[in-house]
């Protein structure tokens, strides 16, 4: 490597096959206690329903399992290893006390159908978290049932639809800005709405004139991410809300970027009618390699009657309970009450922060994004000069002249010890580099990041091939995704 790397980069290069390749008959990592009831004859009990063979499940010992997964884990990058600046993903520190409290016996082993009188602890957690989230968002009522952000969107639009239906007609369309996340249009389709694209203006914000022209009685809602995916706060949000409300429409806010707002401004105060939160982004629950998430939906009073069943309520005697008797409800979106384990973690995070910590967190997240923006200006093209909140979007325009694209720069960043930023999104920026540092990065880590990014920009000028061939330091080089999709191999088979 020509350029000096100041961050640890070298991956552990241990070879590790598939677990099936270590299996041999007679090895075992389990031991059951002796039965305290009589043995049974499975074939007598089950007849033709008895299963004789479990196919190719592995047979391995405990130490092999520990080594297998530990070795695999070393091939992953993680927040615990360093900065993970994925835009709109809010990869912040995942506090370890959250992991401890969620494993406390009464919470980890609580059955969803155990009687309410011995579920007061879980209900208290649900109620306390609900109250905190309502205060943070400035909304009136909430459901914690949705299992992830997209599931929250689905729930939110079901509420929108039920609301309009109660007024006579569900309406036909959802307006979605061209900068939106792909889940927004996919969700609208699932709720039976047509999607109408809304163009952004030169500042990367909603074009208010276009919105005025497109808004009519057929539009059920506008789905808006604020700050939007460029990291820009919609400065005319009050006008946007007014335009929607004047024609009987609702304003939906995708809360993916709530990390820019907590403790500083509340969506409920600027006209939002319904929104979802991502506990796995803003409220520190771990991403775990792709989930689980949790996507609570908060609403204004007008939408409260439609919330999914059940809803947590306080009884006159002060005890907590679930209310199932909600005739106008949109119904259930998930069995039981949602991803409760994520509620515990999110509440632990809120308690660890308090009002001052939450505000400082937001301020630091915005400070960090602007610090990176300043540090990279000049080296990378900034397509929108509008002020940034918690994330900043550059483009590969300067590097593309040398044939180097955003994905190449991202792969080269790996060699410098960082996880890539979000590439090629939002769609309104060709060749986007979307960077969200979150509050969890120190000045030192960000200085290293800026240095790495500037160094790559220089490499593009001097030796673009090094960047095009990156990463050079990982266990595997770039993988053939085309071949993977053309002839899919989606499982191991004996003899493979």
């Amino acid at each position: 490597m020509k350029h000096k790397t100041r961050k640890a980069t070298r991956h552990v290069n241990q070879n590790e096959g598939l677990i099936f390749e270590k299996s041999s008959p007679g090895k075992a990592a389990w031991k059951l206690p002796p039965l305290d009831v009589p043995e049974v004859d499975a074939s007598a009990l089950l007849g033709s329903s008895e299963r004789k063979d479990l196919g190719n499940l592995p047979e391995v010992s405990e130490i092999e399992i520990i080594r297998h997964f530990t070795r695999l884990s070393t091939w992953n990058y993680a927040i615990d290893l360093g900065m993970y600046p994925l835009g709109s993903c809010t990869m912040k520190y995942n506090p370890r006390v959250n992991e401890l409290v969620v494993r406390l016996d009464g919470l980890a082993n609580g059955h969803p159908y155990q009687p309410e009188r011995i579920s007061q602890g879980a209900l208290r957690i649900i109620k306390t978290l609900s109250d905190c989230l309502l205060e943070i968002t400035g909304m009136d009522a909430i459901t914690l049932q949705p299992a992830a952000g997209a599931h929250g969107e689905l729930t939110g639009l079901l509420l929108v639809r039920a609301y309009h239906q109660s007024k006579g007609a569900p309406r036909k369309k959802i307006l979605i800005p061209d900068s939106a996340h792909g889940t927004n249009p996919a969700t609208a389709a699932m709720v039976g709405y047509a999607v109408e694209n809304l163009k952004s203006n030169a500042q990367g914000m909603v074009d208010v004139a276009a919105l005025t022209a497109q808004m009519n009685d057929d539009v059920a809602a506008l789905m808006l991410t604020n700050p939007n995916t460029l990291g820009v706060f919609e400065q005319e949000i009050h006008k946007i809300a007014e335009i929607m409300h004047a024609k009987g429409g609702l304003l939906y806010m995708d809360g993916a970027n709530m990390n820019a707002l907590v403790g500083k401004v509340r969506p409920g105060d600027f006209g939002v009618d319904v929104m979802h939160l991502n506990l796995h982004k803003t409220f520190s629950t771990p991403h775990g390699g792709g989930g689980p998430g949790s996507g609570p939906v908060a609403v204004k009073q007008i939408l409260e009657p439609f919330l999914p069943t059940p809803v947590a309520v306080t009884r006159p005697d002060g005890t907590l309970a679930f209310d199932y008797d909600r005739p106008q409800s949109v119904g259930r979106v998930r069995a039981f009450y949602g991803n409760f384990g994520m509620f515990v973690r999110a509440l632990a995070y809120i308690l660890a922060n308090g009002p001052d910590g939450l505000r400082q967190t937001t301020e630091d997240a915005v400070l960090n994004a602007n610090y990176i923006r300043k540090g990279l200006e000049g080296a990378y093209d900034l397509p929108y000069s509008t002020p940034s909140m918690h994330e900043v979007v550059f483009s590969d325009k300067l590097q593309a002249k040398k044939g180097v694209k955003t994905m190449d720069i991202a792969k080269r960043l790996i060699d410098y010890g960082f996880h890539p930023y979000t590439t090629a999104f939002p769609l309104i920026v060709p060749g986007a580099l979307m960077i969200e540092p979150t509050e969890s990065e120190s000045k030192e880590e960000m200085d290293l990041f800026v240095e790495a990014m500037r160094s790559i920009a220089e490499e593009v000028e001097e030796d673009p091939q090094t960047v095009l061939d990156a990463p050079h330091s990982t266990r595997v080089s770039r993988l053939d995704e085309t071949a993977a999709a053309r002839k899919p191999v989606l499982r191991w088979k004996p003899g493979n």
């Binding site: 299992a147 515990v344 308690l351």
Partner: protein
């Protein structure tokens, strides 16, 4: 704030570098009238020790150390210690979705192993990387069948988990998918005659659960035959994954929608759990959710990537197979490790213990009261019908630190004073005997009261 890695001097230096006078400059884009000029009304900042104490108190209020006979879609099985040791590694816990394959091979390979083991267990050819849970997996599997057949209506077994039915109703409501219900017979198995009549030329699929909500194992081969003969698909929901250790998988099903919580996932008051969809190769392009595939790198080395993304929302937007993005990856890893631990032999032995405990408990209960649906095989759940309201019996059981079976009145009023009981390998004979004793006592006292009333009537 202890999670924030900056000194006041750092903040000052950074503001200077940016060219801002104060942090307020950076929030200037937010119109002043909306900025919050006060503290949020949330509890004050707590020390770590206070947080632990607060949650310990909640845990104590939450049925800590009760023995349970509850199942009904959430099962209490033993979780081997190394599951948490491994999933607590920051490299798994704090990684994002593995879009950058070169630095996500750990997550990707483990998902590939997960997909493989789910295929082996379900007898299907392809499984996805996870769905939110069993209920949403069932709903998405049905929507998949609708896309595949070009038909719109769905026949649902009444013995499907009632909350799964509710979720499907919610999902189907705005997609022009008419739903009808097929009842169960005296053995709690699907009423096949009724099924024949329910399937029309517009039926996309039949959705059943096996073992079903009442604990009975369905004849999936016969049901598949009926569905297929009429051009409909068969979607089978499996809520108790451990059953797959000893119960034949529904080999004739077209799609299997599973809840894998039983495989090493804590009950956790209902979530997070781990849904999965498995199906035939030929249907993979209509499958929702993420898929990991094997490929090679530039030097020919084996590696894994997320693949067939053209089905997904970030590529296809409103034309995607589903809006799902974040799934249940870390929970799927728990499931994966659990399947690896028990493996080919252990899973069978584990399932056998469930079978034995349940057979014992059902036999004990039937000495004193009615155990319904004895005509068909069951795995680890059964329905007990009592003379007294099961809520009243359960209330007394709580005094013995036992949580009794789930009263079914709310879901199946026609079954009267019935409750769904579940035994797993963790259910002790002592707990079974205590519960049976209390139910026997209840039966005796109801009988005695009845005899007394009868005697009084004779006297009159």
């Amino acid at each position: 704030m202890r999670y924030l890695p900056k000194s006041p001097a750092d903040r000052k230096a950074m503001l200077q570098a940016i060219g801002a006078r104060s942090i307020d400059d950076l929030f200037a884009p937010i119109p002043a009238e909306y900025r919050l000029g006060r503290d949020l009304k949330v509890p004050r900042q707590m020390a770590e020790s206070e947080i632990v104490d607060w949650f310990r108190e909640r845990a104590r209020e939450n049925g800590d150390s009760y023995a349970t006979f509850l199942g009904a879609g959430a099962y209490y099985h033993y979780r081997p210690v190394i599951i948490d040791s491994l999933i607590s590694r920051g490299e798994f816990l704090t990684a994002y979705t593995p879009y950058q394959a070169e630095i996500s091979q750990g997550t990707l390979q483990s998902i590939f192993e997960f997909q493989t083991m789910i295929c082996e267990l379900t007898s299907m050819e392809v499984a996805n990387a996870s769905m939110y849970d069993g209920s949403t997996a069932a709903a998405e599997a049905v929507m998949m069948a609708v896309r595949l057949t070009g038909r719109r209506s769905v026949v649902i077994a009444r013995s499907l988990h009632p909350e799964y039915r509710e979720v499907l109703t919610t999902y189907a409501h705005h997609q022009n998918m008419p739903l009808s219900t097929c009842s169960f017979g005296d053995d709690a198995r699907l009423n096949l005659k009724e099924l024949e009549q329910s399937i029309t030329s517009d039926t996309a699929c039949v959705l059943i659960q096996s073992p079903n909500f009442l604990g009975t194992i369905e004849d999936t081969t016969a049901i598949a035959e009926i569905a297929h003969r009429k051009g409909a698909m068969l979607v089978v929901s499996i809520a108790e994954a451990v059953s797959l250790g000893i119960v034949e998988p529904p080999r004739k099903a077209d799609v299997i929608a599973m809840e894998a919580q039983s495989f090493g996932v804590p009950l956790g008051f209902g979530g997070p759990y781990c849904g999965v969809i498995a199906t035939r190769d030929q249907f993979v392009r209509q499958m929702p959710g993420r898929l990991v595939g094997q490929t090679t790198d530039r030097t020919g080395k084996r590696g894994f990537v997320l693949t067939l993304a053209t089905r997904e929302q970030h590529i296809r937007r409103e034309k995607a197979t589903s809006n799902i993005c974040t799934n249940q990856a870390l929970v799927a890893l728990m499931v994966n490790i659990f399947m690896t631990i028990y493996g080919k032999v252990g899973l069978k032995e584990l399932a056998k213990q469930n079978l034995a405990k349940t057979a014992y408990a059902a036999a004990q209960f039937s000495k004193h009261t009615k155990v319904l649906f004895a005509g068909a095989s069951r795995f680890n759940e059964f329905v007990v019908q009592t003379s007294e309201d099961p809520y009243a019996i359960n209330s007394r059981l709580l005094g013995h630190k036992i949580i009794g079976g789930l009263p079914l009145k709310k879901f199946y009023p026609e079954l009267g004073n019935a409750a769904l009981w579940c035994c797993t390998e963790l259910t002790t004979r002592t707990a079974i005997d205590t519960a049976v004793g209390l139910v026997a006592e209840s039966e005796r006292s109801v009988k005695a009261t009845k005899e007394e009333v009868d005697a009084q009537e004779v006297e009159r």
